[in-house]
């Protein structure tokens, strides 16, 4: 079954630094705006929710008809002492219609690992 999944990495300044349509549904010209719009609006909820829980994976924080927004908030404030301050609260956001929460969580964890590796290279300067 075709699925929709739009993945974004949003930096600490709420700037999107990576976007990818990772679902199997072909990307529509107009849907990109929709997905971005939904994910951008969901930042309002993330900003409230992130401080109410110690969990990094915030599942289904927002719902838009059949589409659901899940978010993974990195624990940047810990890493900031060790490395530098550029990964404070980076958010990995996924807009999806899948209900496989475990799969989504694993996906986030893998991306987070890769992200840390990339951001550990001092030649990179993340926004």
């Amino acid at each position: 079954m075709a699925s929709t999944a739009c993945f974004m990495i949003v930096s600490k300044n709420d700037i999107p630094i990576y976007e990818a349509e990772v679902g199997t549904v072909p990307k529509k010209e107009d849907a990109a705006h929709q997905h971005q719009f939904i994910l951008h609006a969901a930042l309002d909820i993330v900003q409230d929710t992130a401080w109410t829980t110690s969990a990094m994976f915030l599942k289904a924080i927002d719902r838009f008809n059949d589409l659901v927004v899940s978010v993974y908030v990195t624990a940047g404030h810990i890493l900031s002492f060790v490395m530098s301050d550029f990964i404070i609260h980076t958010r990995l956001m996924l807009l999806h219609d899948s209900r496989n929460e475990d799969g989504i969580k694993s996906f986030f964890q893998e991306v987070h690992e890769l992200y840390i590796k990339a951001s550990s290279v001092m030649f990179y300067n993340l926004i």
Binding site: N13, D30, Q36, A41
Partner: protein, 1002 residues
């Protein structure tokens, strides 16, 4: 038990507070009634809640009713147990007696009879009529009171109190209140226990066939009502919550087909805040209630209690969840409900909830967090209502008036169409309405975006309405597609309608539909076999909605485009305001954008621009360029119309600096042409334009330019132009900032001529005047395009301009120029050291030694002083100086093969006292041989130096040569030296002297 429902309802409506019965044994009530009633309502009443914990009720209203009152006398025993909550909570026995015999024989037996019923809570108020000055009567009254206490009070419980009519004891009223409260508390406890026991028994039968929800409901609600009357609202709320859970379980019990309800006239108006709108007896169905009405009834009861608890924010929050959940239930039964019942119900429910919660809410009532949450829910309610309202508007043909923005598109394109069992048919005699709708459709013209931007409009429909409506008509398949698309000129309402999206396709479709539509104006036979046209669908929906909507206000909002837009705007404003108050700035700003779009459409450009600016600032600040690209052209259009040239220019620059893939090349060219047009026009208020996002700069790769102090240079700067076409810069200045000195400001280095920037990377060279020693970095870039001054302070990425590397960012600034500290650049020294012979031409060598500096083009000025001349018949010679050779005396002979200098001798000529040094000497040490003659009229030619016996002083024998070397890139460097020459001594002047000192000598 369902037969008791009407009675239960009427009791509830007539019973509002606790009843205290008064047994007026001695006809005292009329006399003391006023004093008793003045104590009402009771302040700070202490009661026990359901869990037997004490609760302080601030105000407890009650009513004193005589036991002879008809309201208490006419009850049947069965009713009493069922509606026990309305029975008196205390019985106050009023007595008076001034004679002990009378007390013993008459009063006591009578009171005994009254209080023998153990189920009642009672106490006796002895009223003394004895005047204060009558000691006898007072004593007797005390005796009777004492007797009463002995007979009716016990150690555990004091049941008597005494009221003096002629001089009431202030403590009496406190005593009375305490006794009443004790009675109420005990009665309440006992009744709670009773109801709980009954409810428990019924709950045990939940899954048995005998189970009947009515019984459970009456008991549960009686208990809840009793709590409510006792102002134990929290407990009452808990009862209703439990009742709701139990009801939902009953409703969702599999295997029972129940009537949902919602089909009666007026059901479209939500009653979730009005529990009395429909009598419970009217919604009875089998052994339970109809879901549609009863769930709203339960919520209304809960909301009423929450309002009493001063928690309007909880009403809003619970209400929103209830609407979402109930909307789902409506969707399940949609096929049996009137057309768009679900949408209409949600709209009325949201509006009712917004109105009630807002009017009950006062700012500052709750903690900041709760307040924030309250406004968030208000925002959600407005948005939900807004979405459903747009859906209704779309169905009646106002779709073209809805802004195709991302928020509307996201809301509507994923929201399914209504799913009636059969799509409403076209009513007869609707031909004129269909014509009007067709005319409206034909007049629709997609609003062109500024700059000629053409985009596929964002969809507002989950699927093509035309197909969906026709599919839902009975015995009708998709039909003839050419018929389906008839009368549909505008594109973009669905994937099927505009696969091409090009203007030509739209035009073509428009022309075809126009001819067909006009040729068949009267073809409204309503035949079910023929697919309905879009205009017909609109008319049919409108008629069906008119039957569904009973609220005149709501219908008015859908009656015309103007009214629709007015309501649309109200809802947008409400939502935006609420979101802003809840600190959900993104939600708020997005809705500001919707408001702006309406103002824009109605040519209120000022308001529109203000709101668009907020939206653009948010998206630009957070770097969401795709979303910014949607709104910024609108802002630019408003700014242009408002003649806000500065703003318009800024918007154009911002549009140009957005990701290139977001706009077509010709659109970007249009942005640039606007910038250029404005720049070359006479701007009323020219302002510097910040083009940091569009023109970036950096130094060229490689080491920084190194200059000696005082040297000019040429600096090359790499500029990246984000303009799609070439652009001419009338002037360009690069600001250089010294890194080692904060005192000095940045210095502007101007390019002297106009520069044409090509898209992408450009290398610009600017002439650099001499700078002070130090290290310099690029500060900012300023210049002019036409009349317009611009400024860029953005360093470009070090990599290629078209890099896609998101992770890279500007590199730390590095020096572009280093100016060395002052040092010796050249040295002039004598090549030989011996005295000159008088009156005889001799070769004097001057060693010209560059010190790591090119002497290319250097000119040596030679000025001989008095008593010294250059022999003109000889040429001046220059040769490479060989280091390490002995400086022996060769002054009297020209250089030869034995000389320490090179044999490669070049001859130079002296012109006006200047010698141009050849280029080959620019980087090597060379010797300049000058034929000199020391002139003295007192000595013969060839007199050796040792034959000067009578010299007056050293000064007499001195001869001087002034040497000045002009060198450097633009002859900007000067080395001067004045050296003395003793005719008897060696021409000796090889002391080091830097040119700075020479300058000082001048």
């Amino acid at each position: 038990m369902a037969t008791f429902l009407p009675q239960f309802q009427s009791i509830k409506s007539s019973f509002a507070h606790i009843v205290l019965s008064v047994e007026d044994v001695s006809d005292l009530w009329p006399t003391i009634k006023k004093g008793f009633e003045e104590r009402l309502p009771f302040k700070r009443a202490s009661l026990n809640n359901k869990t037997r914990n004490p609760v302080l009720v601030d105000e407890l209203p009650a009513e004193f009713i005589l036991t002879t009152d008809a309201r208490l006398r006419s009850r049947f025993p069965q009713e009493q147990s069922l509606f026990w909550f309305r029975e008196p909570y205390a019985t106050i026995v009023l007595v008076t007696c001034e004679d002990l015999d009378e007390f013993k024989n008459i009063l006591k037996p009578r009171v005994k009879l009254i209080v023998q019923n153990d189920e009642r809570e009672w106490f006796i108020v002895y009223v003394s009529k004895a005047p204060a000055h009558n000691d006898q009567a007072t004593k007797m009254a005390k005796k009777v009171h004492a007797k009463l206490e002995v007979d009716f009070s016990s150690k555990k419980r004091e049941r008597c109190c005494k009221l003096d009519i002629h001089g009431p004891d202030p403590s009496f009223w406190d005593d009375l209140e305490a006794k009443i409260m004790e009675c109420i508390r005990n009665t309440l406890d006992r009744r709670i226990q009773f109801y709980e026991e009954e409810i428990r028994k019924l709950s045990e039968q939940r899954f048995m066939p005998v189970w009947n929800f009515f019984n459970f409901f009456i008991l549960k609600e009686s208990l809840a009502f009793m709590f409510e009357v006792a102002h134990l609202h929290e407990d009452a709320l808990r009862e209703y919550d439990e009742l709701e859970l139990c009801y939902l379980e009953t409703v969702n019990m599999a295997g029972k087909q129940r009537d949902f309800g919602g089909v009666e006239k007026g059901d479209d108006q939500a009653t979730l805040l009005d529990s009395g709108k429909k009598a419970l007896a009217q919604i009875v169905q089998d052994d339970s209630f109809r879901e549609f009405e009863f769930r709203q009834y339960l919520f209304a009861c809960q909301a009423k209690l929450l309002f009493k608890l001063k928690r309007p924010f909880e009403v809003a929050s619970r209400g929103y969840s209830f609407i979402i959940s109930f909307s789902g239930a409506l969707a399940l039964h949609e096929s049996m409900l009137p057309f768009c019942m679900r949408e209409v119900w949600v709209i009325t429910a949201c509006l009712a909830l917004i109105g009630a919660t807002t009017s009950n809410y006062k700012d500052g009532l709750a903690t900041p967090d709760v307040e924030k949450e309250f406004y968030r829910v208000q925002g959600e309610l407005h948005t939900l209502c807004h979405t459903k309202f747009m859906r209704l508007g779309h169905l009646v043909g106002y779709g073209s008036d809805i802004e195709r923005s991302p928020v509307n598109s996201a809301s509507l394109s994923m929201l399914p169409w209504p799913k009636p069992a059969v799509w409403p048919p076209l009513p007869p005699d609707a031909s004129s309405e269909v014509l009007a709708k067709e005319k409206m459709i034909l007049q629709e013209s997609p609003r062109l975006k500024h700059f000629g931007i053409q985009r596929k409009p964002l969809p507002l429909e989950p699927s093509v309405l035309l197909r969906e409506a026709n599919r839902r008509r009975a015995s009708l398949s998709a039909g003839n597609m050419s018929d389906l698309f008839d009368g549909r000129p505008s594109s973009g309402d669905g994937p099927l309608l505009d696969s091409s999206g090009t203007p030509s396709a739209v035009q073509k479709m428009s022309s075809v539909s126009m001819s067909r539509t006009l040729s068949s104006p009267g073809n409204f036979d309503g035949s079910i076999d023929r697919p309905m046209k879009l205009a017909e669908i609109f008319v049919a929906s409108e008629h069906a909605l008119r039957n569904t909507i009973s609220d005149a206000e709501l219908w008015k909002c859908l009656s015309s485009v103007e009214e629709f837009e007015k309501k649309y705007l109200d809802l947008c404003k409400g939502a935006a305001d609420s979101y802003h108050r809840s600190w959900w700035k993104r939600h708020g700003v997005v809705l500001d954008g919707e408001i702006a779009a309406v103002h824009h459409k109605h040519e209120n450009y000022d308001l529109a621009a203000n709101l668009y600016e907020k939206v653009c600032a948010l998206y630009a600040g957070e770097g969401w360029e795709n979303l910014l690209a949607e709104v910024l052209p609108n802002l630019a259009e408003c700014q242009k119309i408002l003649n806000d040239q500065a703003g318009y220019l800024s918007s154009c620059v911002k549009l140009l600096s957005l990701d290139q893939g977001l706009f077509l090349p010709k659109e970007r060219q249009a942005f640039q042409s606007e910038v250029v047009r404005l720049a070359h026009s006479e701007m009323e208020h020219p302002v510097p334009l910040d083009v940091s996002s569009l023109i970036t700069f950096s130094s060229n790769q490689g080491p920084p330019l190194e200059l000696c102090d005082g040297d000019p240079g040429t600096l090359t700067v790499a500029l990246w132009s984000g303009f799609p076409d070439d652009i001419t810069l009338e002037s360009l200045s690069v600001m250089l900032t010294a890194t080692n000195s904060t005192d000095e400001g940045a210095k502007a280095i101007k390019s002297s001529e106009a520069i044409v920037l090509r898209p992408g990377r450009n290398n610009i060279t600017v002439s650099l005047p001499p700078q002070k020693p130090g290290s310099y970095v690029l500060g900012a870039l300023t210049g002019q395009i036409g009349q317009l001054r611009f400024r860029s302070h953005s360093f470009s990425k070090g990599g290629p301009a078209d890099t896609d590397d998101f992770m890279s960012f500007e590199k730390p600034t590095r020096p572009v120029l280093k100016v060395a500290r002052p040092r010796s650049l050249v040295d002039l020294a004598a090549a030989v050291s011996s005295a000159l012979l008088m009156n005889e031409t001799q070769w004097v060598g001057i060693i010209v030694k560059p010190i790591n500096y090119s002497l290319n083009g250097a000119v040596l000025h030679i000025d001989t002083g008095p008593g010294l001349s250059i022999a003109e018949k000889h040429e001046i010679e220059i040769e490479k100086h060989e280091f390490g050779a002995n400086n022996t005396d060769h002054s009297d002979s020209p250089p030869d093969k034995h000389s320490p200098v090179s044999a490669d001798v070049k001859q130079l000529s002296l012109e006006d006292g200047k010698i141009n040094l050849p280029d080959w000497t620019s980087n090597i040490t060379s010797v300049l041989w000058i034929p000199l003659k020391a002139i003295s009229h007192r000595l013969a030619e060839g007199t050796p130096a040792g034959t000067v016996p009578q010299r007056q002083s050293i000064v007499d024998g001195l001869r001087t040569i002034a040497l000045r070397l002009d060198f450097g890139v633009s002859h900007n460097q000067t080395f001067e030296k004045i050296t003395s020459q003793d005719s008897s001594c060696a021409f000796y002047g090889s002391f080091p002297c830097d040119y700075t000192r020479c300058r000082q000598m001048q």
